[in-house]
Structure formats: C-alpha cells, structure tokens
C-alpha cells in the first residue's frame, strides 16, 4: 500500500499543467464567463490533437489507453486551471454510450468526428417533470414506417447550441413499467422541428430547453434496442461519475489562501482556522476521488465510491464558498472588474455556482440513496 502517484501520472500532470497554462488564457476564461458556455473550441481542438478527449480509450480506437488514475489527474488539472470542460465531458458521456451500445454505422459516423474535436454531443435527458427521476421521461418517439417521429421537450440540454447531436431519451412504450418503455436516439440538431431556447442560470452557465416538434429521424438514429433505452442510459450514467470534484474545492482553498496571505488576514486566528478546515475537506475530497479512480483502475465497479466523492466534495464546496465570503465580507460579493473586487470575483462566483454542483450529475439525495442502498445494503424507503 502506498499513496504515491505514479511517475507516469505525474509526468502527465506536468504536461497537462503546461498545456493548460498555455491554452486556458484569461481571454478564454472571460469569454466563458460572458457567454456562460463552458466550452472553448480552441482548447477543445488542441486537446483533441493530443488525443486527450478520449484518453481513456484504447489506442486502436483513437485514445491513449489511460486508466482512471491518469484520467483523474487530467480532470484534477482541468478543474484546478478553471478550464471550461462541459463540452468535452457531456460529449464523452454520450460517446461512451455510443461506443458501447451504438450501431457500427453510428460508431463510424460519429466517433471519429468527436475524437478529432470537430463536433460536440449533448444530453437530452431531463424533462420538466423528470429531474432526478429521468426514467419517467414523457418525450414521445413514435414509429412511422421506417422512421420515428419525436415530440416533446427537454430541460437543461446544456451545450445544445454548440452540439451536432442530442443524445435523446424518449418514451416508445407507455404500456410497460417506466424503465422498460424507453428508447435512445441520436438526433442531429439541424433536423427540422428541433428548436432550442437559452436558459440563463444563477451560476452564470448557459443551458437550454430543447423542443421536439414532429422531429423525424430514420431508424438508424436509434441507439440500442427499442424499449431498452434504460440499459443504454445506465452505460452513459456510469461515465457521468467523475472522480475529481474535489479539485473545485482545492482551487477555492488555494485562491482563498492566496487572498488571505496577500491581505495579511491569515494572521487572524479564525481566518487561519477556516482555511485549515477547508484545506482538510479538500484533502478528503481529493482522496475520495482518487480512491474512486483507483477502484476503477482495479477493474471494479466504483459507483458507491464515485457517489461518496461527488457527495462530499459538492457539499463541502457549498459550505466553504459561503465561509470564504463571510471571511472577506461584502467585498467578496463585488462583481469582477468593480473597484475593490476580490480575486476576480471568484468568491461570489463560487458561491453562486456551488449549490448547483449538489444537483447536477445526480443530486446529493440520489448519491445518498446509492451509498445507503448499494454501499450499506440498507433497504429502499
């Protein structure tokens, strides 16, 4: 047993860090901030050039064969650099599912363009009445000869305005229990009848509502078997669990400590104490993430471990982003660019953004269900 990172991982780390220092410029960050679109085509394509978009994939499929451990390093560094990554992470969640469950034609037509950085995919899962409970989706896909006609509406289709396809969850059967009447499609966003409406959020991120009015796709757009969409979703969901959420908190602590040192406030006992507590939580959060990656690296299912990492780090981020604002006082809430604003408005931004991290990619409540039921073997309520 040892906690040392591998030389290989650390040499990746150095390489990634150097790359990000070059590509995640202040201009990139500013554009992300202004548009709320957490994606930068320049960064994305530069990463694609290095095969980092799907680095975990075998080399024969266009990846680098990195294990969860190296992927964790990559993600940690992306978070620590404050790099925009929604585009690549949403795209890869869908692409992993297509890789596993798609048709040969889908793999051929979609995957190379994803890996080259040419296109993005987005996820059409949530609906107005189906948030945590995705399986109760009502967006309808009806067979019409050799094609399907889709009608409905999806919430939070983040990145739809940049994506070439929506990886769409639809209902194809209402006569069976909800999990058994779902089918997945890959819907091109230029299909007639597809429309979107931007949604602006508290954290500054832009997302979308997407509308489907008699959207017609051929049967070849179907991913997986008819009425077996939930199986495909489960594959996708298993890739949605990142492991490096703790890096958000680590970044916040580093920024907070830099501020406290620069202003001399670190000399106040309660400031030192709060930063030490935050740093301790960050250490735990990073370790839980690394543990989850290590379990994955060992070839075991790491759903419970991933849930622990996500639950702990997102809840800790909420606590500590609030605490840091308290430490700093009203100046912490000034917008970036205002006279007297602190750390480029990072703390007010973190405070606004943190709560959403306890919601997306599985709310804290869903994570606690997974941990208590799958991890501890407690009965369902």
């Amino acid at each position: 047993m040892n906690f040392a990172s591998t030389e290989r991982a650390e040499s990746f780390r150095a390489e990634v860090r150097g790359f990000l220092a070059e590509h995640v410029t202040d201009e990139v960050r500013r554009r992300v901030e202004e548009t709320g679109t957490h994606h930068d085509w320049g960064l994305h394509r530069a990463m694609a050039d290095r095969h980092w978009i799907a680095a975990s994939w075998p080399e024969e499929y266009g990846g680098l064969g990195w294990g969860p451990w190296e992927m964790n390093v990559l993600e940690e560094e992306l978070f620590l650099a404050g790099a925009p990554r929604d585009g690549m992470s949403l795209t890869m969640t869908a692409t992993n599912a297509i890789h596993h469950a798609g048709s040969d034609e889908q793999r051929r037509s979609v995957i190379p363009r994803v890996l080259s950085g040419e296109i993005l995919l987005c996820l059409g899962w949530s609906e107005p009445d189906a948030g945590s409970d995705s399986a109760s989706a009502k967006t309808r896909a009806a067979r019409d000869g050799g094609s399907w006609v889709i009608n409905g509406q999806k919430m939070f289709t983040t990145m739809a305005h940049e994506a070439t396809y929506v990886f769409l969850l639809t209902r194809t059967n209402t006569e069976v229990p909800k999990h058994r009447g779902l089918t997945m499609f890959l819907v091109p966003t230029d299909t007639p009848g597809f429309e979107l409406q931007p949604v602006h959020t508290l954290g500054g991120e832009r997302t979308n509502i997407t509308f489907y009015s008699d959207v017609r796709v051929p049967d070849s757009a179907r991913v997986g078997e008819v009425d077996h969409g939930w199986d495909v979703m489960r594959v996708a969901l298993s890739y949605e669990h990142g492991t490096s959420w703790g890096a958000h908190l680590e970044r916040l602590v580093q920024r907070g400590a830099a501020w406290a040192r620069a202003t001399g406030r670190i000399e106040e006992p309660s400031v030192a104490e709060r930063l030490a507590r935050a740093a301790t939580d960050a250490e735990v959060a990073m370790l839980l993430g690394q543990y989850s990656a290590w379990v994955g690296e060992s070839g075991r299912i790491s759903d419970v471990e991933a849930s622990m990492a996500k639950l702990f780090s997102s809840e800790a981020l909420v606590r500590h982003s609030g605490e840091l604002v308290d430490v700093i006082g009203p100046e912490a809430l000034l917008k970036d660019g205002q006279p007297g604003s602190v750390a480029d408005g990072d703390f007010e931004h973190a405070y606004r953004q943190s709560v959403v991290r306890t919601i997306y990619a599985g709310s804290s409540e869903m994570q606690r269900n997974i941990i208590s039921q799958r991890g501890l073997g407690l009965p369902r309520g």
């Binding site: 189906a130 945590s132 508290l202 700093i328 009203p330 809430l333 405070y351 306890t358 919601i359």
Partner: protein
C-alpha cells in the same frame, strides 16, 4: 409577553403588505436589477409615510419598523427602507435620501455603504467624528445581490459634523444596533418567503410518483428550517422591542438577532434553492433572488464570525 399584534400594528402591516404585493412583485424586483432600486416604488412608499414614521416624532416604535422591514424582506422590495429609517433617526429629520455606513471609514472613505448608490446623504463614523456628507448618488459597486452599494469619500461632498468623540461613537453605535435589529427583520422576511416557496414547491413537484415533500430527506430539513425561521421571527422582534423598552438587553439581542438571522436566511434560501433541483438555478425562478440577497445582508458589516467573537466578549468577559 403578548405576541399578538396590536390593531394599529395589524393595520400598518396589512397596508404595507398590500402595497408591496401590488407594487413590488418579482417582475419589479428583477426590473430594478442590477441597481436594486425602484425609484417609483420608493416615492410611493414615501408618500405612504413609511419613511417619515421612522423619525423620532413619527410615532413609530422600532418594533413597528421591524414589522415593515420583515415585509421589505419578504417582497425583496428594492427600496432602502432600513437604511433610510436608521439614518432618519440619527438625523432627526427626513432627507431625500439618507443612509448610513456600517463600518468605520478608513482614510476618509466608507466602503460599500448600503444604498449609497441611490442616496444623497451618507452618515458615517470618520475617526471620532460622526458626519453626514451630502451630494449626488455615488457610482454603483455592482455586486451579486444587486444592492445599491457604493464607496463614499467623506470629503467629496458637503460635509457636516453631527457629533464628535464619545457622543459620536455612542450615536453611531446606537444606530448600528437599530440597523442590526431591522436587518434581522429583513433577513427574517427573506427566510420566511424562501421557506414558503420551498414548501409550496415541495407539495406540488412530483418525483418518483409522489410530491418531493413526502420524502423525509426534504420534509425533515424543511422542519428544521421552519423551526429556525420561527425562532428568527421571535428573536428579531424581541430585539427591536428591547431597543425601545429594555435598553440593557437591546444591544445584545440586536447582535444575536442579526447574526442568527444571517445564518438562517442563508441556510433556508440555500435549502430552498436546492430542493428546486435544476430549476432553482434558472434565473426565471424567484428563489435565486432570495439566495443572492440573503448573503449580502448577512455580511454587510463584515465577517459574522468576528461579530460573534465581539458579542462573546461583550456578554461574558469581565473586562468589557
């Protein structure tokens, strides 16, 4: 102890609640962003007399003002009711429109003074002088809460010294106690409204075939939140009452109410936001308005932890 409102208080609350429900709906609150001031709303409120009743001869007890401040919080009304009331009581007269700096000036500048971006008079403690500086509204320091904060150079306008030395310090301290009590009432209003929104949403929103309010993980947190909100209502009202009627207790209670109020409002608004799932983050839902405002009110005077420490010294240190 008699916690029923008097008929006068009830009439006052009913009138102002009706006014704000009509004149300060969420659309108006949004429209007033990012300055956080609705001039039309304020002039109507002034017409109603809510600004003048705060004055020493306006006939209102601090508790009456607290009841109105609760409503300002509930409706997130973009008017400097609390600031003007406290400043008016310092000046003894209404000026169009006065406010007060919560932290002592440093090098002649009072930083992030509430309502200073819309006020024409700023009261501040500048060294050992209590001053009022008159001039035009100052440039907005844009902030997360869409509050009309501004920095105020205390030598840049028409400066009048109101008091010096111990008297200056004492009058300023008294004003801050009043501000704390009224800010606690605003925080109560924000928290109570955030709770109402959460409860209504939890009853109506269904997941997994039942209202989310039927899940213990949400219901029990709401029970804790409701308890905290009830406690805050009592504590903030008691603080306002005591500042008039039980002077030995007033300062202590105002400090407690303000600090507790900050904790409760941030927790309840944050919880309510969380229960909304993704919807809470959509700017078109109202709860984010509460979430952003609660935080600024709670840190307007600086680090709450430091304030708890000062309160501890004041309460328990033989020296103080």
């Amino acid at each position: 102890m008699e916690l029923t409102l008097t008929s006068d208080q009830e009439a006052l609350v009913d009138a102002f609640a009706g006014f704000l429900a009509k004149e300060s709906p969420p659309q108006a609150v949004r429209a007033a962003e990012p300055l956080g001031f609705d001039a039309r709303l304020w002039s109507k409120a002034v017409e109603m007399g809510v600004a003048t009743m705060a004055l020493p001869d306006g006939g209102a007890a601090l508790l009456d003002l607290a009841l109105l401040a609760e409503l300002v919080g509930r409706h997130l009304a973009p008017i400097p009711f609390v600031e003007a009331a406290v400043a008016g009581r310092v000046l003894g007269e209404q000026r169009q429109l006065a406010t007060i700096a919560l932290r002592p000036a440093v090098d002649g500048v009072a930083r992030l003074v509430p309502a200073a971006a819309v006020a024409t008079a700023v009261i501040a403690l500048d060294g050992n002088e209590l001053v009022v500086v008159e001039g035009r509204p100052l440039p907005l320091a844009a902030n997360m809460a869409s509050a009309p904060l501004a920095d105020c150079d205390l030598h840049a306008g028409e400066r009048t010294v109101l008091a010096t030395g111990a008297e200056a310090v004492a009058r300023h301290a008294r004003a801050l106690d009043e501000w704390r009590a009224l800010a606690a009432s605003v925080l109560y209003g924000i928290a109570a409204s955030a709770l109402d929104i959460a409860v209504a949403y939890a009853k109506q929103r269904e997941q997994f075939g039942k209202p989310i309010g039927a899940f213990q993980s949400i219901a029990h947190r709401l029970a804790d939140d409701a308890t905290a909100v009830q406690g805050l209502q009592l504590l903030s009202r008691k603080a306002a009452w005591a500042l008039d009627d039980d002077p030995t207790e007033g300062g202590r209670l105002a400090a407690m109410a303000y600090l507790w109020g900050g904790e409760v409002a941030n927790k309840v608004a944050g919880d309510s936001l969380h229960y909304h799932g993704g919807y809470g983050f959509m700017l078109e839902y109202d709860i984010q308005l509460h979430f952003r405002r609660a935080k600024l009110w709670s840190v307007a005077m600086g680090d709450p932890r430091a304030a708890y420490t000062r309160l501890g010294y004041q309460l328990f240190s033989g020296a103080a």
